[in-house]
Symmetry: C2
Subunit: 223 residues, 2 copies
DNA sequence: AAAACACTTACAGATGATGAAAGAAACCCG
DNA sequence: CGGGTTTCTTTCATCATCTGTAAGTGTTTT
């Protein structure tokens, strides 16, 4: 059973939405205020977030933005504000759907199901700039082709993506690959880094692994 | 540059849509009549299909249905018929978006871009009931987990999916796996089938491979 | 019961990923 | 420039996994 989180501060509307969703056999979690919603949502990790933007403030957009930044959890925006600007803004932020109230239950449910369907199997995909990485199999998607990375290369790329823009020390990288920082074989790490670099270049990724002498490595945009 | 196919029989509307899309830096292909559109679209294999349903006939829906059945090419339905029923029907058939005309160019483009973004890396995914299969790497997605199938098992599952509901003879399966039907090693095929069955059961797929004695095999829904 | 067909299991060769080792290249600092 | 340190590359043996062979076990049909 799919789990949906409803973010809405108006109790009446919230109840109604929940009822509709429950009737359609979804497991519903209600989140009553925008404050701290991001953390709760990330912890809850529902299959979809139904986000109601009724206040003029930007906090709703902010939630949408940070959710889409963090991981790939579909966000369905529902609003009473019929403003083209708002719609464009939400969509640009990565919202998966934007509907204005009032809205018939059937339409809501149909669109919701559509999105859920489209997200099947996406849960473990890490998003990079111009590519996707499957956290479990280390399948790399780029420009309509896909390649399977060897486990070690996959783990390295994964850690680079989850700690973006940070400089990662050799210890941290060893930890990510072998699960322990003890008995660090710097050479083994070095070899695996080289291999990852080579495959990244081979598939035409826009990123490369930059060396920060004496400190570690980090992912940077190529040239 | 993303390639978009516009299916629309009214020359005026078609021109206008094309102009909007070209201005937004898409490569546009115009398809002027519904007859034979499926084949042309499959051959063209654009990044997205913009499908205009202006006639009351069902042919537009038919195109949508068969496109979604065949592979996963996003379909964006644009229509002047503001009927809830039509919308629900299109969405149920797998349409990725349904907008009613008139519609501002910004909205159209924003939603279009959203869908394209969401489809990145999806091009090679074959859709099964409850799972997805990557045609290139044979990564199998099911219930938020992913597994890499060995090449032979992947090829088998692929051919079962592309020729759904058909009974496949051993010759055809051999052809799919080894590229030749000569020197068919029935036993080798048998072993690979057994292995595929085992992995399918292990990952909990709802389908299984049914045997049709004396004829071949086919994919069926489990019990 | 026998023959034909379908299935399973165990094993050995091939393929590809991995880390060890050794040496080359780049960098830093006087 | 030159020694020392750090980073990088290449080659090779080992290991795991995928694959087809072979032999034997089930199952259906006549």
């Amino acid at each position: 059973m799919k789990r949906i989180a409803v973010v809405e501060d108006d109790a009446l509307v919230r109840e109604e939405l929940s009822a509709i969703l429950r009737r359609a056999d979804y497991e519903v979690y209600e989140i009553c205020e925008f404050k701290g919603a991001e953390e709760r949502l990330l912890a809850l990790s529902p299959d979809l977030v139904l986000l109601d933007l009724n206040l003029p403030g930007a906090s709703g957009f902010e939630i949408c933005r940070s959710l889409k930044q963090a991981g790939s959890m579909p966000v369905f925006v529902l609003t009473s504000r019929d403003q083209m600007q708002d719609e464009l803004r939400a969509l640009k932020l990565g919202a998966d759907e934007y509907l204005t109230k009032p809205c018939r239950a059937e339409r809501l449910l149909a669109r919701l199901e559509n999105i859920l369907k489209r997200y099947e199997g996406r849960r473990n995909l890490l998003e990079g700039e111009g590519f996707l990485l499957d956290r479990q199999t280390y399948t790399l998607y780029i420009d309509d082709t896909s390649v399977i990375l060897p486990k070690n290369q996959g783990k390295l790329l994964e850690v680079f993506l989850t700690r973006r823009d940070q400089i990662l020390t050799k210890e941290e990288l060893c930890l990510a690959v072998w699960g322990t920082a003890e008995f660090i074989d710097e050479n083994a790490l070095q070899v695996n880094l080289t291999r990852l670099k080579k495959t990244m270049a081979a598939v035409g990724m826009r990123q490369r692994i930059g060396t920060v002498r004496g400190e570690g490595y980090r992912l940077v945009i190529s040239k």
